[in-house]
Amino acid sequence: MIARLVVLVQIALRNLFASFINFIIGGIILVGTCTTVVGGGMLDSLDRSMSRSVIGSVAGHVQIYSTKSKDELALFGGMTGGDPELAAMTDFAKVKTALETLPNVKTVVPMGVSGALITSGNTVDLVLARLRDLYKVRDGKNVNPDLADLSGPALTEQIAAQKAHVRQIVNVLKGDYTKAKVLLKKDTEETREGEEALARVSDDGFWAGFDTDPYGSLEYLENRIAPLVTDSDLLFIRYAGTNLDTFQQSFDRMRVIDGQKVPEGHRGFLIAKFFYENNMKLKNARRLDQIKEALDEGNNRVIKGDPVLERLVKENQAQTRDVILQLDGIKTAQVIAALQKLLKTEQTDFAELLTSFFTTDDQNFRERYDFFYKEIAPKLQLYRVKVGDSLTIKAFTKSGYVQSVNVKVYGTFSFEGLEKSPLAGSMCLMDLMSFRDLYGYLTTDKLEEMKALKAGAQAKEVSREHAEDDLFGGGDVVEAQATAGVIDDKAQLSGTGQAMHQEDLVKRVYSREEIENGVVLNAAVMLKDPARLKQTIADINALSEKDGLSIKAVSWQDAAGLLGQFILVAKLVLFFFVGVIFVVAMVIINNAMMMATLQRTQTIGTMRAIGAQRSFVLTMVLVETLVLGLVFGVLGMGLGTGFMSYLGSHGINATTDIMYFFFSGPKLLPTLSAGNLIAALVIILVVSSLSTLIPAVIATRVSPLRAMQTDE
């Protein structure tokens, strides 16, 4: 048997390069194997890097959520684009205790993902709100925990600085109105009202009497001056409410960049660094950063001719107002003097000077960038929210009403390797207590209170469809004489509801039990051995059924929503692509082998005439193809391995934001496993053998007589 095989292999080797057709077949096998090796290796590498991104940033290995949820969990957004509707897990502590009995569960991190709009008001609103808070501190009515320690000369100084700032803004607005009147010939009732208000607050008398009635003066400014500025913006912020202590320990790629971690058991907020830089930084400064980052990339990128960088320069030239409105009179004078010196000009118009300053090109950019951060930035508030400030987040609760909380921003953070990824860098972190306040889960007490109020109103139910008949169908008299009553405000207010003490909330330390005994929407389960993921998911689901936990466990890939399906889709595309290659290959190999078999009719007939059995001929053809597949397959594998090793050493750059997340960093360094190589070889040998079956059978049917006749 072995001797026969040796003979067959010798024949195959001898015939390997005997025919040109073999080169064609070999070439196809080579390309097919190379593609399979590279494609398989790339997908496995992507799968690994993406799992690092998803598992390391927010998902953990397994996610659990309530089986009563309307939608499936999608941490990065689902098909509808919005957040999925998840039912609350009302007793997280019980779930956690139960899950931690499973041998492969390391820890369970409670979570809830939501989003809210942050409205900050315009620049004047912000300055006036600050001034109002300072006066409240002066009058012992402070509600802002950030100002709790302010008093004495420091307080007086801050009040004076804020007032000077307001006066500077008024000067700028007056200038705007004069220009608008001259240039646009704008003279409407609205502009006249604006002018009148500006004239009043420009008067020294207004400021001389400011301190006698600061709140009245502030209301005038807030209602008549602030609406003249229209630079307020809305910011959508996405956050995960979690036990910050456990989160920080479990997701070890998380790094605090500015500030500090939220102290154990405290309420607090950590802003994702990427989001902080891109959405909360002064736009002029951010544009300068973006230009610098582009020039530092090292791809010989220059401003001139680069549409993106030229656009950033133009935007900086045109949009100087944020800078102008941020500076008070003294700081404005200082910056003007510095700019005049730098630009060697005697121009005194601040807006003109800033426009000239922001007119950056490849020659002056670095000098201007350094100047901005050295001379101008220290006088500005570079970020809308500073580390250490309180951030007010207003969200619609699950029950539909609006709820706001103040959370102290302790710092910014990012996940190592994902610093530039918008997907990983857009989710901020919030303590679970604040998250629960915003989520507004209706407790039994709250529901009872609502029920009592409703019962007291004794209102009848009216449906949309029957409204007109129900309300006017009876022909009842619409008018009624009522008696005026007396409404006692104090009696209506219980005095217990909103008596929240912000300072106390900020300082309060919650125990682990307090944090974990309550509502959460989902939770990340970290495993001791991630390789046993599938088994652990099955264990969790079985435990849930047994103990009535009403939870469902899903892998990180399923929890990632659409994003998690990316690899699956990519695999399907690759399989389709490889499938098409191999179907084409099979047809070509089949035809080529047919031709080769027909060309060898005489040889095969002679072999049959001298005693070769049909089975020998069949095996011979098959072995020839297998040897051909093996030789060119190995060559293809070598080529694929070489290519992958080149990619592995040089890396593939992430050119888009989404690639950055998939690559789990700025570069993907793909690797190849033995599995990829073996799979490719097996596939190629099976395909080669299958495509040779018909020609091999035809070869067995060649009769010696026919071979001799042909010879005649």
């Binding site: 103040n406 109020l453 109103a457 209102a459 409204a467 022909g475 619409v478 409404i487 209506q492 509801g497």
Partner: protein
């Protein structure tokens, strides 16, 4: 009856029907009546029950006190119930509508379309009525609303007047100028809200030396989110003078301190 007589009869009937349609002046007169009835010369305070129904959500229930001083065009809301909403409020000063949350101590300038307390009601549902001042009326049709014979009037915002909805349709009982139904349309023509006023209450006001009218009940149906509806019940109205300087941020803040 000859064809000529029949034609003459039809023409006479048509002419008399046209004559029954209110003129523009009459319509403006009706709007003025609606506005004047609700205006009070002095101060006004109302205890209001708000209920919001939304699909697959528990009903939102609120109690709020609305303060009004028509003379100086001032308005304020103070939420009193439930406990979680206590101390929240709105304050209108000139064209600014501020919302206040004692939980954060922050004031925020909101828009005319702000949903009061998360319901479909808006500031204008509780404020002084200014239909005649802000809109031009046009008669549209005679209609039936339940058992009531009403006229449908279309109101278009006057040029330069800033209103949340530029087109309003009103269903008015012409016999007593009672507004029974209202529809508000966006600039695009899209219907936004349908509101019913099934009860109008009146109270004698010493400062006005006449009756002040207020809707005893308002039913608002959201036409965008069809499953949303709001019920507004005026539980009590107090016409006693209010504190002199209460329409301030400081006053509202003091209620939750």
């Amino acid at each position: 009856m000859s064809p000529k007589t029949l034609l003459a009869a039809v023409l006479v009937l048509a002419a008399s029907a046209r004559a029954a349609d209110p003129t523009k002046e009459e319509l403006v007169g009706m709007l003025k009546t609606i506005d004047d009835r609700q205006r009070n010369g002095g101060d006004y305070k109302a205890l209001i029950y708000l209920e919001q129904k939304e699909k697959e959500k528990a009903d939102i229930v609120r109690e709020v006190i609305v303060y009004r001083r028509d003379e100086s065009d001032q308005l304020m809301f103070l939420f009193t119930k439930p406990k979680s909403e206590e101390g929240k409020g709105y304050l209108r000063i000139n064209k600014n509508l501020w919302s206040y949350d004692p939980g954060t101590g922050k004031w925020e300038r909101t828009t005319e379309r702000e949903r009061i307390g998360g319901t479909n009601s808006q500031r204008r549902d509780f404020d002084e009525s200014r239909l005649a001042e802000e809109f031009d009326p046009t008669f549209e049709a005679n209609e039936k609303l339940g058992k009531f014979d009403v006229i449908r009037v279309s109101l278009a915002a006057k040029p330069g007047v800033d209103v949340p909805y530029p087109v309003i349709k009103l269903w008015i009982d012409p016999t007593n100028s009672n507004e029974l139904k209202r529809q508000e349309l966006a600039l695009s023509g899209r219907l936004m809200r349908t509101t019913y006023y099934p009860k109008w209450n009146k109270i004698y006001s010493a400062s006005k030396k006449g009756d002040v009218w207020f809707p005893g009940e308002i039913r608002i149906f959201d036409e965008v989110e069809k499953s949303n509806q709001t019920l507004v019940l005026f539980k009590n109205v107090d016409l006693n003078p209010l504190d002199g300087n209460m329409f301030t941020k400081a006053w509202l803040e003091s209620k939750s301190r």
